[in-house]
């Protein structure tokens, strides 16, 4: 009960303090001569937001970069040692390979599934379409931890002879094979792929919703014209619809890509990076929390940032182009 009151108090105090701040800032600015008032007012409005972003994103990002050149306790400089150590260890290289594998597989499949469902469901009646989409979309609301728990019951393994309570092994044993310890099976990266399935399961709904909206926005005339010219459904899909929704496809791809780069909870809960399934964000957490190595954790994040950099550039360029077209 005390907690709930504290939470409510935090909201009231937080919102109240912010309001008061704006009110005071506004009053102060209004007392200035008109010329200065006009000049300073916008900064009073954006000030608190800029301060928050500065404290919680910009300052820590710069600090992380600096800390990546220091030792575990951040007490002495070690130059590039964190980077060379990490890149020199086969363990970390494996983590990078796994992350690249996730990048190669998950965004593409998520877009493909989402587009497939969007296009197919578009042909159903409105009720059926809505039901189908809601079903696929629902995992979006479930946390990575929840999703991992759910999929435990698919991948769970019991020793041979005991009744299998994991769905996948129940099917395997029913077909007459021996049960497989799925999450420990790193031959051909099977366990990594099984973890990817969870993320795809969770993200296809998002991809479907955006792509469905785009598909519905394709002007009917263009499809009609293609049909008159004798194009079949396949040609219409690849030559008429796809080019027109390309922008959205890229959007979805990049958004999923970002969530793949940051993927933490699913892997952390399922394997904690064991059995050769480690990915970069889990490794980051373990370096920081289990090994208490600030320097290495920071170096991992810097590498993550380097991976994200092209996306940021794309994002900014795209935004600029859109603003110019506005």
């Amino acid at each position: 009960m005390v907690r709930v009151i504290n939470a409510l108090l935090a909201i009231v105090v937080g919102v109240g303090a912010a309001l008061l701040l704006y009110y005071v800032l506004n009053m102060l600015v209004e007392r200035l001569p008109d010329k200065w008032e006009e000049r300073l007012k916008p900064y009073a409005f954006i000030g608190p937001a800029v301060v928050m972003i500065g404290i919680f994103l910009v300052y820590p990002a710069v600090r992380t970069f600096i800390l990546s050149f220091a030792n575990a306790q951040s007490t002495a400089w070690v130059g590039l040692e964190n980077y060379t150590d990490l890149l020199g260890s086969s363990d970390f290289r494996l983590t990078l390979v796994n992350t690249l594998l996730w990048i190669a597989v998950v965004p593409a499949l998520t877009v493909a599934f989402g587009l497939g469902v969007a296009v197919l469901a578009d042909r159903l009646g409105p009720q059926a379409e809505k039901l189908t989409k809601s079903t696929i979309f629902l995992p979006m609301a479930i946390s990575g931890v929840g999703a991992a728990t759910i999929w435990r019951f698919v991948y769970e393994t019991r020793p041979e002879g005991e009744p299998q309570i994991g769905l996948q092994n129940a099917i395997v044993t029913a077909l007459g094979f021996d049960p497989v310890a799925w999450l420990q099976l790193d031959t051909l990266k099977v366990n990594s792929f099984l973890l990817m399935v969870i993320l795809i399961w969770a993200q296809v709904g998002f991809s479907m919703v955006l792509l469905s909206a785009a598909v519905k926005g394709v002007p009917e005339e263009t499809l009609e014209a293609a049909r008159i010219d004798g194009a079949n459904e396949r040609q219409i899909f690849f030559r008429v619809i796809t080019p027109q929704i390309w922008g959205t496809i890229i959007t979805v791809f990049i958004t999923v890509l970002i969530s793949v780069l940051k993927i933490f909870d699913v892997v952390y809960v399922m394997t904690n990076g064991n059995f050769n399934t480690d990915v970069i964000a889990v490794r980051f957490f373990n370096e920081l929390f289990r090994n208490g190595d600030n320097g290495r954790a920071a170096a991992i994040v810097v590498m993550l940032m380097i991976a994200v950099l092209p996306v940021i550039v794309y994002q900014v360029r795209h935004f600029r182009a859109e603003e110019a077209a506005r």
Partner: protein, 325 residues
């Protein structure tokens, strides 16, 4: 235009290419879609979709069923075996939930609200002020600042965690009855971080929305002598409610479902939030499946309810919040 019987009359201009506004749950349907073979799916298409829906649902059904089975039943037979004898009530129980709630999930549930509510509500106002200035006032550095905001949208928040841990432990002060001895382990540590992390998205969504509002209204308010402060409160905030709601739902789900930040700043124990608690239960499976499944369901109830009831706004936030194309 061949409209099938059940399709509501199109309200959007047919062929209008504005997908971001005409979303499937936004209550409007594109006229063009009605002409595109709606309701004409062949058996193959129906079959594929049905199979897909089935595959999507089965894992979730499994955990729901398991959460109501006795520990003994859950440990010795697959959950799907209940299909054979669903009416055998000796295998059903609600004790799992009682046990989970008293064993920490109830506590964690409250903690999750203590973190999520401030993290959702506080940033809205801060971002709204900033978005207003970005949209309606010309000032030096505006474009550069906003481009930075756009760039920060995709920055992984891992980037902030190491320095924040140190920053938090440096916060020591006492102010009358209020004494703070390091922020780590306090709810504030988590929600403050989420307020900061969510800020670029909030500004971005709100600014995009505000720039679609008619400029004439703001101009006339100015001519009438209204200050920016007044225009903001009396005009822009009420007009921006849909965008505010979109961000709120987005942020609520995001914070509620977050594991990483909560794990780092609060950790397991008395102050654990639901995700941290469920993750800890996965590690302690010897205690049996029943706690884990019931706990996981409890952790999902709120986001799923929020999601289902406010799907419309969520979708809009999603569309606006993703890297746009």
């Amino acid at each position: 235009m061949t409209t099938t019987g059940t399709t509501p009359p199109p309200t959007a201009v047919p062929g209008e290419v504005k997908p971001r506004r005409a979303l499937p749950w936004a209550g409007r349907r594109e006229g063009a879609a009605a002409a595109r073979g709606r309701g004409q799916a062949g058996p193959l298409v129906r079959g594929v979709l049905l199979l897909l829906c089935f595959l999507w649902l089965v894992p979730t059904i499994g955990i729901i069923v398991t959460s109501f089975r006795t520990p003994d039943a859950a440990n010795t037979s697959g959950w799907w075996t209940v299909i054979a004898s669903p009416l055998d009530f000796t295998q059903w129980t609600a004790a799992n939930y009682r046990e989970a709630i008293s064993g920490g999930m109830g506590n964690a549930f409250v903690n999750s609200f203590a973190v999520t509510l401030p993290a959702t509500i506080i940033p809205i106002m801060i971002a709204a002020f900033a978005a207003y200035a970005f949209t309606f006032i010309e000032f030096w550095g505006r474009d550069v600042l906003f481009v930075i905001v756009v760039g920060l949208l995709v920055v992984p928040n891992q980037v902030a965690l190491v320095p924040l841990l140190r920053l938090y432990s440096d916060i020591n002060f006492s102010l009358g009855p209020l004494s703070v001895n390091g922020l780590t382990g306090e709810f504030a540590a988590v929600y403050l971080a989420h307020i900061g992390f969510g800020m670029p998205l909030a500004i971005y969504i709100l600014r995009n929305y505000m720039s679609t509002l008619p400029k004439a209204v703001i101009e006339s308010a100015k001519i009438d002598g209204a200050s920016h402060f007044k225009t903001f409160w009396k005009l822009i905030v009420p007009m921006s409610v849909p965008a505010l709601a979109s961000f709120a739902i987005f942020q609520f789900l995001w914070v509620w479902n977050d594991l990483l930040v909560a794990l780092l700043f609060l950790g397991p124990g008395d102050r654990a939030v639901v995700t941290v608690n469920v993750a800890a239960l996965v590690g302690a499976q010897q205690q049996g499946w029943q706690l884990l499944t019931a706990g996981a369901i409890i952790s999902m109830v709120v986001p799923v309810l929020v999601f289902i009831s406010l799907q419309r706004y969520f979708v809009r936030g999603l569309t606006a919040g993703s890297v746009k194309g």
